[in-house]
């Protein structure tokens, strides 16, 4: 039986990827951030997952406003790295796990989550930056990756509670998969940030700390946060944190928080990184 062995919450700020790609990750601006990511990388290496289900959003690269799926799951054997307007990131091709991905598609849809299915799709920094942060600069990614893309670009994104329930359905589907696989789930994006308007640069560390505490100890409380509350209190783009709730839903009732790191600023954004181990389901 496949099982979920870990959960990772990770911001996906493009500048983090650019710092690694351009060799500026050891300069004084970036050193404090990258030093803080080392324990997460070590934790994940020890966990040795076979597959990651990576919940993220596309930023007008694979998808445009032409068609906007709320939840999309990538079933391909491989996903090329997107050219986001200045050439693709120099990172390895992302290899999928079609068999588990199709199992997820079938189970999630029959469990009332109407996934869009992507047989071909490039992946952008929303997916590759969390991989870089948690795996480092590698020649090939150490595990297969199933992209699960959530719309947070066109309002309204799915609600926090809906994302949490999707996570719970992912857990049921993974545990129903016959092959022994070690699976980790990523929830990416956030934390507080606003990229637009006269309020650009908004950061709310108090909200972010509350959210990190809630992910560890009381996700039910976080599912009650309304979209307006996210945008008001964590910035208009902080609403991405609904994707953390999808990851958290997949981890079961109780978790052990193995690691937490929070850093301001990474470009315009407050970055969070959290590693969770599932407890016993009740």
């Amino acid at each position: 039986m496949a099982r979920i062995v870990g959960g990772i919450a990770c911001s996906h700020v493009p500048a983090i990827g650019a710092a690694l790609d351009k060799g500026s990750s050891t300069n004084p601006y970036w050193t404090p951030y990258f030093n803080g990511t080392v324990p997460a990388r070590e934790w994940l290496a020890k966990l040795a997952p076979d597959v990651a289900i990576l919940i993220y959003n596309d930023h007008a690269n694979a998808l445009s406003l032409e068609m906007i799926p709320t939840f999309l799951l990538g079933t391909a054997a491989s996903f090329p790295v997107a050219d986001e307007g200045f050439g693709p990131r120099p990172v390895p091709t992302v290899y999928g796990h079609p068999k588990l991905a199709w199992h997820l598609v079938e189970n999630l849809i029959l469990d009332e989550f109407d996934m869009t299915i992507a047989n071909e799709m490039p992946v952008d920094h929303g997916l590759t930056v969390p991989l870089s942060v948690t795996c480092g600069q590698v020649k090939e990614w150490p595990f297969k990756v199933i992209p699960l893309c959530v719309n947070v670009i066109q309002y309204p994104p799915p609600t926090g509670v809906r994302c949490f329930k999707l996570g719970q359905a992912i857990r049921r589907a993974v545990e129903d998969y016959p092959e022994d696989l070690r699976v980790v789930v990523y929830g990416t994006g956030g934390m507080s940030h606003q990229l637009q308007g006269e309020r650009a640069g908004f950061v709310n560390s108090e909200f972010d700390t509350m959210f990190l505490d809630g992910i560890a100890n009381d996700p039910a409380k976080l599912t009650k946060i309304s979209h307006t509350q996210y945008m008001r209190e964590s910035g208009s783009e902080g609403i991405e944190m609904v994707m953390w709730l999808a990851m958290r839903g997949a981890l079961g009732d109780q978790v052990r928080e193995a690691y937490r790191f929070y850093h301001v600023p990474t470009s315009n954004t407050a970055s969070g990184l959290q590693c969770l181990e599932p407890g016993v389901s009740t």
Binding site: S64, E66, G85, E198, M231, R232, E233, V264
Partner: protein, 131 residues
């Protein structure tokens, strides 16, 4: 059930909702076209002519030509799309963020280094309805 647009109470924020999506679609699809290197070249060589390929309103065209970043948001621009014009110009997200809040680049960068724009009564709510 129509969603309440109570987020309009958040100062300095342009939520890309159904209202803006309805008027901004073509503007944003123009921006999307700049993902292609050939299109970027065509746009840079004659911006006004390139814009004619898209059914934009005069206000949208003007906002693009003037690089009025806030103006683009007001006429239906989505920041994840309009930023592609900035990338085409060789600007960074932080450059544009600074321009949207009328702060010199250095001042904006300093604000971020010091922890960002922290919550205040003024930036949380227009009406005082926030906390």
């Amino acid at each position: 059930m129509a969603a309440p647009r109570d987020y309009e109470d958040i100062p300095g924020t342009y939520v890309y909702d159904a209202e803006r999506g309805r008027v901004g679609y073509h503007l944003n699809m123009f921006c999307m076209s700049l993902n292609d290197a050939e299109n970027r070249k065509a746009f840079k060589s004659d911006e006004a002519a390139y814009l004619e390929r898209f059914p934009l309103t005069p206000e949208q065209k003007q906002a693009v030509l003037e690089r009025d970043w806030l103006g683009m948001l007001r006429v239906g621009g989505n920041i994840y799309y309009t930023i592609k014009i900035a990338f085409c110009d060789g600007l960074t997200f932080q450059d544009v963020a600074g321009m949207m809040c009328s702060m010199p680049k250095e001042e904006y960068a300093k604000m971020m280094l010091q922890g960002g724009r922290i919550p205040t009564a003024e930036n949380m709510s227009k009406s005082g309805a926030g906390k």
